[in-house]
Symmetry: none
Subunit: 191 residues, 4 copies
DNA sequence: TCCTAAGCGAGACGGTACGTCCGGTCTTTGC
DNA sequence: GCAAAGACCGGACGTACCGTCTCGCTTAGGA
């Protein structure tokens, strides 16, 4: 009949304060100048309270991402019936986020975090939609006859997300027409 | 009559020892567990000798890459006349390098380094061929009529390189047929 | 009509478990590596149960001493009629306890505790007999004409106890004849 | 021809600052509320600079004592020809130091430190003169016929020093005549 | 029989200090 | 003037305890 759980419960206040502080410092300092000690101070929390619930800063970032505190909206592509336009708009949204220096810094820091921590890597890919929403949109493009039926959709979406990452890593500024060209690169020009 | 340059010249021995030690530790410990102090000890060199010539570990890694000490061969795609086969072979070479845990660790660490340091980012992209050899090979594919003439080659190569990076970040193991599918994703299925 | 005392009474089980655990850890770790947290764990008790009844580890140690759990027998000198022999035997008993490394460690830790906490200091002095039994034995030595009638007995017993403490602090191993020499030092050689 | 020693020398400035800070904090906070971290902050020094030269706070205190920064003058007894008066004066000097709350606190902390660290224990005993100057003075008392020739001088001096320690541990305030009584306790009344 | 106060275990929390590692800078000596 | 050796200040690491607190349960009068 009993829950078997005695003692004080985990403080939601502390948890939220930690995540918020993490986001704040992550945006300003970047992933590897991010310190647990700094987060604790910023959050007004004891270091041990962080270590009690997260083994390191990797999973902490992952949880921030899960809560949608790092990337806006999860970048789900629209469906207006025109795949090419929808994907270009999706890329525009992402690059719009990257034009802001803060956004760009967060994004590159996320890549850094992903390189160190699988969990972050998977979540980053998924946040951009590579796992579900993007593939689904491509699937509807196939149904609409705008994409060849035997196109490897998973790989196409990986390539799209990858192109965004390459741009971020090489700090290549976005030129007009680039989103369309990237879409053309993966779903073909004349289809 | 002289240029006035007096005193000892930079020790090539020390320089090489430092680069070699960097590569060794980079492969085992990864980018951000890489320490200048550790490199100095491993190289049998004073810390100051490193700081005298490199401002931080980013450019140090960049120099290692320039010297071809981190990525093998620079991954130049062949030209057998069949673009699809050539690109698949190129991907096979890269993924072959990534199958080895050491290679995979180096690659992810490079991504991490790239996220911090533009120079590394650009060199990483170029080492994979995105800037020249890959685009050139795609160009010859266009000439051979295997790729539509108006395909955005720069973007195609970025998407290819990006796909590799996404795979590395999400630690997705390579399945048989994946290289071909990736190539199909960017140059079309039925061409 | 009643005092109005409601609720559960203090658990004797917990009290005894705490004192026993304290003695155990005190002997092995020493006074200032002794932690309330460690005692609680060792005793299978909640920390708060300790803090409810003792303000700090000083009084906890004092209570252990009061219960006779730390020093054996309270070191009461015998009375065979020969003061010199009786005091030497008393010293032998104490030094016998100090020869054992555990006993020596306990004794030094008690000195440490005494330096921090008056209560412990007084109890330590009394446990060795300086306040009552030792002075009484000296008094009977005076009556028997073995000690000059105007000897300051209180000070003599302090000096004796003090000599033991000095030996413990400087870890001077006991040589044969030392107890007799110490007795001679305070009650004279030829009396 | 060479000394074989390269690199910067130990900073005397830092060493002295550390010792001074230690003395300052030792006097105010006592031995076991003394923290390496606090000393470093007080001295304006990095923690590592302390750990580089001292393994723990015990030897640090010992060095302070060696430098005469903790106990004044080393308490060497005078020689006016009258042992009893000289020893009483020596006790007066010590108890005079103990009347001051700061002095008393330092002394008790030293006992605490001595209980933990042999080196401190030996130095504390020696600082009070038990090893040399006190025994020598007693020796001259024997030559002058004021002390029986077969009195165990080493033990007598230990008993004297011990009596002081017992007083300190039990916080017994000094009454008039106490120094004389203590001297009488160890060198006899009517000799 | 309920009510209520207290004891108790468990354990989270804000803190302080631990002892270690490394970042960069500086000094000393030798080549 | 470069390079080794290495001391130095600073800052973060991850761990151990501090003393306080909250929680759910048990114990035992008083209503």
């Amino acid at each position: 009949m009993t829950t078997g759980r005695r003692g004080a419960r985990r403080s939601e206040t502390a948890r939220v304060a930690i995540l918020a502080a993490t986001v704040r410092l992550f945006a300003t300092r970047g992933y590897d100048h991010l310190s647990i000690e700094g987060i604790a101070a910023e959050a007004g929390v004891a270091k041990q309270t962080i270590y009690r619930w997260w083994p390191s800063k990797g999973p902490l970032i992952a949880e921030c991402m899960l809560e949608g505190m790092l990337l806006p909206g999860r970048f789900v592509p629209r469906d207006t019936g025109d795949v090419r336009a929808d994907l270009a708009a999706w890329l525009d949204a992402i690059f719009g986020f990257l034009i802001d220096p803060t956004g760009e810094s967060i994004f590159r820091s996320l890549i850094s975090a992903a390189a160190e921590n699988v969990e972050v890597g998977v979540r980053l890919r998924d946040s951009l939609g590579a796992a579900s929403s993007l593939v689904e949109r491509l699937g509807r493009g196939v149904e609409a006859g705008q994409i060849p039926p035997d196109a490897p959709l998973q790989e196409v979406s990986e390539a799209l997300v990858g192109a965004v990452i390459v741009r971020a890593l090489s700090r290549t500024p976005l030129a007009p027409g680039d989103p369309e060209r990237l879409v053309d690169a993966v779903i073909g020009v004349h289809r």
